[in-house]
């Protein structure tokens, strides 16, 4: 059997550190002493087969799910003990999210979708629209600003979703199979723009993927298997 992963030592460098996470859904053990650490500006790929616990790990790290055991320290605060409202604020102001299917609001235009996180933070409409337009330009999809998600291609929609995730200048971006629904060329465009912007703004990315070509955009990878994390460089040699 696989030995427990070494526990990461929370360092002064880490912006986000999870230690000993355990999470069950009914009888199913989704995470079992999972640990991970993310430095500012670092892009870490979380790899592993389907059902290994990758997405559950992301949800716990992002404060969407509360683990049964373990801690998630973001800039000195333990997300597992924060009240729901505080976690919700943290998610809106400090974190960005990109999922496999953009999950844009279908009734809003692309510009309104991107401006939405700023409007929720009570940024005046004109200012929010200006910043949203800039973000759409950066992702090269400013020409779809006035269109609704149902009227654009999957690749364009995912780039709009990336723009929405980046517009608040989050410190950590959680991306769960962000190119899973795209062809190779569109997937590459999204990843290039996402990682370039993150490098520019010193944002960290937790990149959940089962695709090696996606993981190749990261600085290092962590493998999740049966709910346990393994850092291949510290897991020990095959001796």
């Amino acid at each position: 059997m696989t030995a427990p992963a070494p526990v990461p030592v929370p360092s002064a460098r880490a912006i986000l550190t999870a230690t000993g996470l355990r999470k069950t859904f009914g009888q199913t053990l989704a995470l079992d002493h999972a640990s991970i650490s993310l430095a500012p500006g670092e892009i870490v790929a979380v790899m592993g087969p389907s059902g290994s616990g990758k997405s559950t790990l992301l949800h716990c790290l992002a404060g969407i799910l509360r683990p049964d055991q373990g801690s998630v320290i973001y800039q000195g605060q333990d997300l597992t003990t924060l009240r729901d409202a505080a976690r919700s604020t943290l998610r809106r102001t400090q974190f960005g999210f990109i999922f496999q299917f953009g999950q844009l609001v279908p009734e809003l235009t692309c510009l309104e979708n991107v401006a939405l996180p700023l409007r929720m933070e009570r940024v005046p409409r004109a200012e929010a629209n200006r910043r949203a337009t800039e973000e759409l330009q950066r992702l090269a999809v400013e020409d779809v600003a006035g269109q609704r998600p149902g009227e654009i291609s999957g690749g364009q929609g995912q780039r709009v979703a990336v723009a929405r995730a980046l517009v608040t200048r989050p410190r950590v971006i959680f991306a769960d199979e962000p190119t899973g629904a795209l062809d190779s060329l569109n997937g590459e465009l999204v990843l290039r723009q996402l990682t370039a912007t993150a490098r520019e703004t010193r944002a960290s990315i937790l990149l959940v993927t089962h695709e090696a070509r996606v993981a190749a955009y990261s600085d290092r990878e962590i493998v999740v298997r049966d709910g346990r994390t393994r850092d291949p460089l510290t897991a020990g040699a095959a001796a």
Partner: protein, 186 residues
Amino acid sequence: MSMGQTFLGLLEAGPRHGYDLKRAYDERFSHIRPVHFGQVYATLARLLKHGLVELDAVEAGEGPERKRYAVTEAGVADVDHWLARPEAPDPYLQNTLYTKVVLALLTGRSATDLLDLQRTEHLRLMRELTQRKANGDLIDHLICDHGLFHLEADLRWLELTAARLDDLAATLTPAGGTTTGRTIRA
């Protein structure tokens, strides 16, 4: 693929004659194209010269003397080192990786660690190619994509093998043990 280290791993189960070693090797690793006797004895002579095997017994018979070989501590360490070192990714790697995985399972070493290390090595090269693409022109893109897709195919094989390690271990050692008597570790 390194025949020398594979012989050493097979000898961890106990001393063997060159002929038995060839049979075990052909059965596990080379049944489509059996290895030549000349290659077997040349390999054993090289291992002997480097102190990785030693003569366990020399039996006189009607024909030439039959030598029985045993692995030395240095030989076991050599196998450890070989299995712990990831291979440089290349298009014809599969035979070597397959051999390493099977040998790790047969000798009670961790095949999971081996596959994880290899994934890291493949990803390291994929990162290099991805970076080269980011800074390159269309020609660079095409060249790097070719390499990336091949490496990705290797990685898919690594993932699938990792998912099948328990089954593979059961296939290799139906009784549940290893050739060396160590507890099997996927």
